[in-house]
């Protein structure tokens, strides 16, 4: 069987190569995600049968369950999914850009900047300004810190290694600042700040979904457009330049997309860590090298990780609602170690 299908119409207007097996795998992952979503929507303090969920989706009236699905579980699940997908792709872009598998938005300070702004907002303006402005504050924080990192890393262009080192430095400063603000804040706002920092999608509404979707949708399309740049830059700076790639502009573009994705995720779901690091790795295990396919795969895997963790968080410890960030790290970290262990043997 041919491994690659070439899309090349007679007119010659466009031409693309489509690797068949990875595309099939991506579709499988997508179906798996849909199944998990249905199961996840069924689970909770009240059991709603998967059949009812499917009926709801195709527009059949499911009575009292409508409220549970539509108002309680679905928006929360979608926020988790979007945040996870955004973090996964954000991490993917950073890892490819700096050619280092350890890069992720929570390691190089993008998330940290959002956290400082959010905690500052919670501890200072809690009760003065409406909490609906919190996402805006967090996004601003991520953006400002990213600009700062970029500016400090600039030395006749951006060198990826320098960017990572400066990011780590900034991140350390940000977490010190966050801790300091929490210590000096009254107890109730400090516990709120803590929950936010771990990452939580508790009480997410449709308005959050509506606000997140356009940003993440656009950024995902932009991420797909980075594919050519990513592939050429993988060959190293000298080769990429000699092939005519304008690598500084490409890097600026990639960082911007990555920051938008991480910033939006942080704004609505808080400081969920680990997804940005792990989702791209799992996606590479499954798909291989093609960046254009790694984007949807990392999104599916990141999104699935976060919403599954959230379903567990809100069902396994009833009546407690454990913040999703705790479970992502709690389940994700051992799973990741397992993957690395298996890969070592294989």
């Amino acid at each position: 069987m041919k491994k690659v299908f070439t899309l090349r119409p007679q007119s010659g207007a466009f031409s693309l190569q489509l690797p068949i097996v990875p595309i099939a795998l991506t579709l499988c992952l997508f179906l798996m995600m849909v199944v998990l979503m249905i199961v996840g929507l069924s689970l909770g303090s009240t059991w709603v049968s998967p059949l009812a969920i499917m009926q709801y989706f195709i527009g059949i009236d499911v009575g009292a369950n409508t409220f549970i699905i539509e108002s309680l579980r679905l928006p929360r699940m979608l926020v988790a999914l979007l945040a996870g997908a955004a973090l996964g792709v954000s991490g993917l872009i950073l890892q490819e850009m700096v050619r280092n598998p350890l890069a992720s938005p929570d390691i190089i300070g993008i998330t940290g900047g959002g956290a400082v702004a959010a905690v500052f907002f919670i501890t200072t303006f809690s009760g003065i300004l409406p909490m609906s402005l919190l996402p805006l504050a967090a996004m601003l924080g991520s953006a400002i810190v990213s600009v700062l990192i970029y500016a400090l890393a600039w030395k006749q262009g951006i060198s990826p290694l320098r960017l990572v080192l400066i990011g780590i430095g900034i991140n350390a400063a940000m977490s010190a600042l966050t801790t300091l603000m929490i210590i000096f804040s009254p107890i109730n706002s400090s516990s709120q700040a803590y929950v936010w920092m771990t990452g939580s999608v508790y009480g997410s509404s449709w308005s959050a979904v509506q606000q997140m979707f356009p940003w993440i949708g656009c950024a995902m399309i932009l991420a797909l457009l980075c594919a050519r740049a990513v592939h050429v830059q993988q060959l190293g700076e000298d080769v990429a330049k000699s092939l005519g790639a304008r690598i500084q502009w490409q890097r600026l573009g990639m960082i911007t997309v990555s920051v938008i994705l991480a910033g939006v995720a942080v704004a609505f779901a808080g400081g969920i860590s680990f997804v940005g690091l792990m989702a791209p790795h799992i996606a590479r295990f499954v798909i291989g090298r093609s960046f254009a396919l790694l984007v949807p795969t990392a999104a599916i895997i990141g999104g699935t990780m976060v919403f599954v963790a959230d379903v567990i968080g809100r069902t396994a410890f009833l009546p407690l609602d454990v913040p999703v960030g705790v479970l992502v790290s709690g389940i994700g970290a051992p799973f990741f170690l397992y993957l690395l262990y298996r890969n070592r043997k294989g």
């Binding site: 010659g12 050429v232 060959l235 005519g244």
Partner: protein, 274 residues
């Protein structure tokens, strides 16, 4: 007068305060193999990197086929001039054909990513470098010589008139050094490419070059045919080494035999025995 493909006009190169190449005027002939030689740190790689626009000159300009390089877009240059840098690394899992395909980058656009022409040229590049059979193997699994041929195939897929190679034979055993240089020779003979190589091995340089350039003291010490450049005097001045220059018994090009402490002793011993 010969036709030149590349010309530098009082080109000055360096890093921070250190000048490596000072006001250099160099012409590189069209359709010929030019080999740059010189001692370690004489700036030959720096010069090549600058011609490949991987390094910004401090002052001066470079002309490519009569056009000022500053006036050309990076993509436009990439269609005329291909470069194989000194050290290359290929990402884990990337296959030979995927790497060679990247050579089409300057010719592709977002919409036209894999035309019939691209496919044909990539296959030709892999065939002429003898890597077609390995098309689906990961580059990292190949030997040093094979890997170098794959990278050369990538630069060929760029379809440029000019090819710059920075020490393409480093880390290769002697058989593979010959193989790579034979490949360059073939590309020049058959396809008429202008080739510029930075090379350490003087005997091989003398064999394969039409035009040799020896660099010293931030500028050209000597240039011309291998016979004109490779002399005992040049060896003394450029490499600070005493040499005999004899005729290569196979190619009749100049060949250097350096003196060394050990050689001196052998000569003495033999003289004593006589």
């Amino acid at each position: 007068m010969m036709d030149e493909m590349l010309r530098t006009n009082s080109l000055t190169l360096g890093f921070k305060d250190r000048i490596v190449i000072d006001e250099l005027d160099l012409d590189i002939p069209k359709g010929k193999v030019t080999i740059l030689v010189g001692a370690n740190g004489c700036g030959k790689s720096t010069l090549l990197r600058s011609i490949a626009r991987l390094l910004k000159p401090k002052s001066g300009s470079i002309e490519l086929d009569g056009l000022d390089m500053d006036q050309l877009s990076t993509k436009e240059i990439a269609k005329r001039l291909a470069v194989l840098p000194q050290s290359t690394s290929s990402p884990e899992g990337l296959t030979v054909s995927q790497l060679v395909k990247q050579g089409r980058y300057p010719h592709q656009t977002l919409l036209k990513q894999w035309s019939v022409e691209d496919e044909k040229i990539v296959n030709e590049a892999m065939t002429s470098t003898g890597v077609f059979e390995m098309a689906d193997r990961p580059v990292t699994s190949l030997s040093g010589g094979q890997r170098q041929r794959v990278w050369i195939a990538m630069t060929l897929a760029q379809r440029t008139e000019t090819l710059l190679l920075d020490e393409p034979t480093t880390f290769l055993d002697v058989a593979h050094q010959i193989e790579i240089l034979d490949l360059c020779h073939m590309l020049n003979e058959v396809e008429g490419k202008t080739i510029v190589i930075v090379l350490h091995d003087l005997n091989l340089a003398a064999r394969y070059a039409h035009h040799m350039v020896a660099l010293k003291n931030k500028t050209i010490y000597a240039q011309g045919s291998p016979e004109e450049v490779v002399t005992t005097e040049m060896m003394k001045q450029v490499f600070a080494l005493d040499c005999e220059v004899i005729e290569d018994p196979i190619t009749l090009t100049p060949m250097t035999i350096p003196y060394s402490k050990k050689a001196a002793r052998r000569v003495k011993e033999r003289a004593f025995a006589l």
